[in-house]
Symmetry: C2
Subunit: 114 residues, 2 copies
């Protein structure tokens, strides 16, 4: 789990339904996107989950709107996005939102292990 984003950080929520196609290509591209995103200016962190029903949610956090937009315009990002439409996704939504508050709770016994 990434660090808690501060107020006014930008959360980019990507909700997607996979096709059945090209599982290994998808996995490699998802890893590449995560590596590539993590070195962009303003990148704060990412969390991702995909359930057995094929629905996935990825949330990435950015320092400000400008850094999120710069990442959207990145050429390698655009190329992988085009492959995503061609092969991997049946349906997706991208929701951009500005953090107004954030809260975290951790089980006391688990703090030593995280």
């Amino acid at each position: 789990m990434q660090s808690l984003p501060a107020r006014d950080a930008i959360a980019v929520i990507f909700v997607s339904m996979r096709t059945d196609a090209d599982e290994s290509g998808y996995g490699a591209a998802a890893d590449a996107m995560e590596r590539l995103g993590s070195v962009q200016p303003g990148y704060l962190g990412i969390d991702s989950a995909r359930g057995a029903d094929g629905l996935g949610i990825t949330v990435s956090y950015w320092a400000d709107e400008e850094s999120a937009v710069t990442w959207r315009r990145n050429a390698e990002h655009a190329a992988i996005r085009a492959l995503g439409r061609e092969r991997w996704y049946a349906h997706y939504q991208l929701i951009v939102a500005r953090v107004t508050r954030a809260y975290e709770w951790q089980r006391p016994d688990d703090r030593a292990n995280s």
Copy 2:
């Protein structure tokens, strides 16, 4: 996948790591929370995914800040939340954010099936 939220809707992002405890109790409570939330004023929709590593992401959408806060204060919600801390979660984050833009793409061939 829920309908795309409009600008200025509130996204409540809940990122959680489960304990191993009480899988059936957790599933029943998660279903109850979803039913209970879906009849609250201002509820717009919810998407949820949990991967094999135990990390889950749930995003619920609300018409405005007031409806999200009212749901947070709901007594049944508070009771289930207390059980969540006691039993089901090792760690969670709750991030509240205001939607600034949203975009959707759907594979043309799949439109008839959704």
